[in-house]
């Protein structure tokens, strides 16, 4: 496999694994109706390639009790289905946020060409920076 294809594959897997928490994160800002939710997700670069695939994901989150739906009247047209985070959805999001932050920081630390990562001796770093 060429290197570019491998990186793309990793990104596909990452997207697939994190998208449901991105949905929960968007809902943490407040209830949304499906279309608005989908558009907010697809506004993030590269996150959603086919908007329609969000609906199966939302159904799964509802089956798992992480979100609930309510019907609300809209000013224009028929009532809309609104999605809301449940307490267990909030817990799932909080748990993932911790894990993700740790993971992201660890990968960043290895990827970033930090100047202070060269020969390092305990306690000497602060002196050099001043």
């Amino acid at each position: 496999m060429e290197p570019g294809a491998s990186a793309r594959n990793v990104l596909t897997q990452l997207r697939r694994g994190t998208i449901e928490y991105c949905v929960l994160a968007v809902l943490a800002d407040g209830d949304d109706y499906a279309f608005e939710l989908v558009r907010r997700l697809s506004a993030v670069d590269g996150l959603v390639t086919s908007e329609g695939t969000i609906y199966p994901l939302l159904a799964r989150l509802r089956r798992d009790g992480l979100v609930t739906t309510t019907w609300q009247e809209s000013d224009a047209g028929p009532p809309r289905k609104y999605y809301r985070l449940t307490p267990s959805g909030k817990r799932a999001l909080a748990g993932f946020t911790d894990e993700w932050t740790r993971f992201r920081d660890a990968v960043d630390e290895l990827l970033e060409p930090a100047p202070d990562r060269r020969p390092r001796q305990g306690g000497r770093r602060d002196e050099r920076e001043h």
Partner: protein, 161 residues
């Protein structure tokens, strides 16, 4: 159908898209299938109100492009998540626990002792434990059954002595 789409060409595009989605989703549970079709239709209506640029036909084409192929949407229905462990549709049929090796094992364990005492059931035991179709508990049950005649004999031996 949609109160937004009065343009016949746009209407035909939506109809064709929903037909494809209906065909692709025929293996979903009926309630979920109806719900998915309603969700997608609602999305199309909302999207056409939000982005009417280019006229009905162009706008509809854009909305359907952004939704993605119906087959891909249905495929997402059966994608499980490692965290939530959601059930996948359709459930694949479990592999049969009965192959030639397993049948031979049971026959030897049951009546092998009649033909070849001790050696018969012993070979049955070896066969049972080398099965790749049986789980460990199933193998344990098979072994227990092989021991059953021996266990039944013990009380008589004890009483007799």
């Amino acid at each position: 159908m949609t109160n937004v789409n009065t343009d016949p060409a746009a209407d035909a595009l939506v109809r064709a898209y929903l037909d494809r989605l209906r065909a692709a989703s025929r293996n979903l549970p009926p309630e979920r299938r109806d719900e998915l079709l309603a969700e997608v239709l609602e999305h199309i209506d909302a999207a056409l109100v939000a982005d009417p640029q280019g006229g009905p036909e162009v706008a509809t084409r854009n909305v359907l492009d952004r939704l993605g192929p119906p087959e891909e949407i249905v495929r997402a229905e059966s994608e499980g998540t490692p965290y939530a462990g959601a059930p996948a549709y359709p459930t694949p049929a479990p592999a049969s626990p009965w192959g030639g090796l397993e049948i031979a094992a049971v026959v030897l364990l049951a009546i092998g002792g009649v033909v070849l005492p001790i050696v018969g059931p012993l070979v049955g035991l070896v066969l049972a434990w080398s099965s790749s179709r049986w789980t460990r508990p199933q193998k344990a049950v098979a072994s227990g059954l092989a021991m059953l005649p021996v266990l039944l004999v013990i009380p008589f031996v004890l009483v007799g002595s």
